[in-house]
C-alpha cells in the first residue's frame, strides 16, 4: 500500500478530503478503497454547482466487481469535477490521492472537517481491521 499523504483527512468509509490553499476541499477515495474495489471502469460525479450534504452519497464509483456510493465528507457547493475520469477511470487505481481526485467543494460548514480522521488514525483503523 502506498504512503498516506499527511495533508489528508479521512472518513471511516474510506473517502479522503484535502483542504487546498484557497480553502476549497478536494475529495477522493482512499488507496485502500481502490485496491479492494479493483479495476474501476466508471465514475458518476456530481455536477458543478450541485449542493451536497456531508454524509450523503454524491458520487458513484463502479469497478468490474461492484458499484459503490461515495459519501461527502463535508457539506457545500461543488466547484469542480474531475472530468478526465470519464475516459480514464483507472486513474483512481493508479493515483488515488493525486490525479484520481473526484470533485472539489466550497465547504459551507468547514468545522465538519474536524470530525474526520487524521492520516495516522486512518492508518490505524486499517490496521485494526486487518485483524
Amino acid at each position: 500500500m502506498s504512503e498516506i499523504p499527511g495533508d489528508l483527512k479521512f472518513m471511516k468509509s474510506h473517502e479522503w478530503a484535502r483542504v487546498e490553499g484557497d480553502g476549497k476541499v478536494t475529495i477522493g477515495i482512499s488507496d485502500h478503497a481502490q485496491g479492494l474495489l479493483g479495476d474501476l471502469v466508471y465514475v458518476e460525479l456530481p455536477a458543478v454547482g450541485d449542493s451536497i450534504e456531508a454524509g450523503t452519497s454524491c458520487a458513484v464509483v463502479e469497478s468490474v466487481k461492484a458499484a459503490s456510493d461515495v459519501y461527502a465528507p463535508v457539506s457545500g457547493t461543488v466547484t469542480a469535477v474531475n472530468t478526465a475520469l470519464a475516459d480514464k477511470p483507472e486513474t483512481i487505481n493508479e493515483d488515488a490521492y493525486g490525479e484520481g481526485w473526484l470533485y472539489v467543494v466550497e465547504a459551507s460548514e468547514p468545522d465538519q472537517l474536524n470530525d474526520l480522521l487524521a492520516p495516522d488514525d486512518y492508518a490505524e483503523l486499517l490496521e485494526e481491521d486487518d485483524h
Binding site: 468509509s13 466508471y42 466487481k65 459503490s68
Partner: protein, 413 residues
C-alpha cells in the same frame, strides 16, 4: 452507523428458486461490503465446514493474490488487476487454479444407460473414447441441477467435472440416480486442476511434456482429452476444453504434482489469472454460469442451452416431459444477450424492460474486450426487436440485443 462507500443495496432479485447468495468482498472490519458479482453461484454452506484450500493456496498468496471465499473455497479473485489478467488470456496465455471443481469418476456395467437418463444431452454423441460432451443434469421437472462436462475415458469409464458450488447436491442426486444402475461413483478430491487458456496456451503446455506425450496432446481435437501416464507431473488427464472462449487445456493433475506443474507453467511464461477474469472471459464467450444464468427453476430452453438438449428417440431422461412440451409450445421465457453502449455496468438483478414484459439481468459485467457492459437477461418469450431497456438506479438506459458469444477468437462480434 450505516456503512458508507457501501455497495448500493442489491437490486431486487426477481427470479425464482434458491437465493443467489453473494459473498461479500469484506472490507476489513466489514465496514464496506462490496458486492462481488462473480460469486453469485456461491450457495450457503450448510455443514459449517471451514473454508477449504486448494494445494495451490500458498502459491496464490506468494503471487500477491487477493483471496475471497468462493463456494466455501479460499480462492484468488485476482493477482493485481482483473482486467490485465483478462487481456493476458485473450492475447497470450493465462492459467487458473480450478482445483475446487469436483471431479467424479464413473464406472460399472451400466454407465452409459445411467448417463442416458441423467443428462439432457445424449451420451451417444460420444463415438470414440477421449471425447467430451457438455450437458445439463436436470431434475424431474426439467430444471437444471447443474451443468457439467462428461468425458468418455474408454470402456465403461467416464469422468464428470461439475461445479464446486453445487458439489453436495450434485453428489446426492448422482448417488440417488445411480442406485438403480450398475454404476460406481467415485469422487476424486485428490486431483487438482489447472486451466491453461489463451492463444499461446497449448504450445506452452506441450513444451512441458516429453516428445511422445506432446505429440499425443498436440493432436487433440477440441472437446477431446488424453491421458498421459508417468509424466514428470505424474499421471495427467489433459482436455482441450475451457471456460474462456480461448483455445487451451484443462489439466487434471495429482495434488502431489500440482505445485510443480503450476511453477513450470509460470516459468514457461503463463501468467496466473483469478476467478474475476475467469468470469469476464466466460461471459464474453457467451458461456452460462450456474446459479446465475440458470438453476433448478429454469429449463435449458430458458437459459439458451437448447443446443445441449437432445430429444433423441426412445431415450427417457430426467425432465424430458417438460422439454418436449416447451419444444412444442415454446418456453415462457428466453435468455438474450445485451450490450449497453452508454457508460455504466450491467449487474445481476437489474430490472429489464421489454415490449413483452419485465425481466432481469442474469450475468452482467464490464467487458474488457469491448470496453462496455454486456449481460445475459431472462425476459418473457417473444420478439425483442422493439427495444430493451434496463433500470439502473431509477434511470432507464437503452440496450442492444445481440447474438452471443460477445467475443469470438479474441475479436468482438
Amino acid at each position: 452507523m450505516p456503512a458508507k462507500l457501501s455497495p448500493r443495496p442489491p437490486e431486487k432479485h426477481r427470479g425464482h428458486g434458491p437465493l443467489l447468495h453473494r459473498v461479500s468482498v469484506r472490507w476489513p472490519g466489514g465496514r464496506i461490503a462490496a458486492e462481488a458479482i462473480w460469486d453469485n453461484r456461491v450457495f450457503p454452506r450448510t455443514d459449517g465446514a471451514m473454508t477449504r484450500k486448494t494445494i495451490l493456496n500458498d502459491s496464490h498468496r506468494a503471487l500477491g493474490a487477493k483471496m475471497v471465499d468462493f463456494g466455501g473455497w479460499d480462492m484468488p479473485i485476482h493477482y493485481g488487476s482483473q482486467i490485465e489478467e483478462h487481456h493476458q488470456v485473450r492475447r497470450d496465455a493465462g492459467m487458473f487454479d480450478v482445483s475446487h471443481m469436483t471431479v467424479v469418476d464413473l464406472g460399472g456395467g451400466e454407465v452409459r444407460p445411467f448417463l442416458r437418463r441423467l443428462l439432457a444431452n445424449s451420451i451417444d454423441k460420444l463415438k470414440a473414447p477421449g471425447k467430451a460432451l457438455y450437458a445439463c443434469m436436470l431434475n424431474d421437472a426439467g430444471g437444471v441441477i447443474d451443468d457439467l462436462i462428461v468425458y468418455w475415458r474408454g470402456d465403461d469409464r467416464y469422468r464428470l467435472v461439475v461445479n464446486a458450488s453445487t458439489r453436495d447436491k450434485d453428489m446426492a442426486w448422482i448417488g440417488t440416480q445411480a442406485a438403480s444402475f450398475d454404476v460406481q461413483v467415485e469422487e476424486r478430491p485428490e486431483l487438482s486442476m489447472i486451466a491453461v487458456q489463451g492463444p499461446a496456451a497449448r504450445e506452452r503446455v506441450l513444451g512441458l511434456l516429453d516428445e511422445d506425450d506432446a505429440a499425443i496432446t498436440g493432436k487433440l481435437g477440441k472437446f477431446a482429452a488424453a491421458e498421459l501416464a508417468g509424466t514428470r507431473f505424474g499421471d495427467l488427464f489433459i482436455a482441450r476444453t475451457g471456460y474462456t472462449g480461448e483455445d487451451g487445456f484443462e489439466v487434471v493433475v495429482p495434488e502431489a504434482h500440482a505445485i510443480a506443474l503450476w511453477d513450470a507453467l509460470l516459468a514457461a511464461g503463463v501468467k496466473p489469472a483469478g476467478l474475476g477474469a475467469r468470469d469476464t472471459l466466460r461471459l464474453e464467450a457467451g458461456m452460462n454460469l450456474y446459479g446465475q444464468d440458470m438453476d433448478e427453476t429454469v429449463s435449458p430452453y430458458e437459459a439458451a442451452l437448447g443446443w445441449t438438449v437432445s430429444l433423441d428417440e426412445g431415450r427417457a431422461f430426467n425432465g424430458r416431459d417438460l422439454l418436449e412440451g416447451q419444444k412444442r409450445d415454446g418456453a415462457p421465457r428466453q435468455m438474450i444477450g445485451l450490450v449497453m453502449d452508454e457508460k455504466g455496468v450491467l449487474r445481476h438483478g437489474q430490472k429489464v424492460l421489454t415490449g413483452n414484459g419485465e425481466g432481469e439481468i442474469l450475468s452482467g459485467t464490464f467487458s474488457p474486450t469491448l470496453g462496455k457492459a454486456i449481460a445475459f437477461a431472462r425476459v418473457p418469450a417473444g420478439d425483442v426487436a422493439d427495444g430493451v431497456r434496463v433500470d439502473i438506479r431509477g434511470r432507464e438506459v437503452p440496450l442492444r440485443v445481440v447474438k452471443f458469444p460477445f467475443v469470438r477468437d479474441g475479436k468482438p462480434q
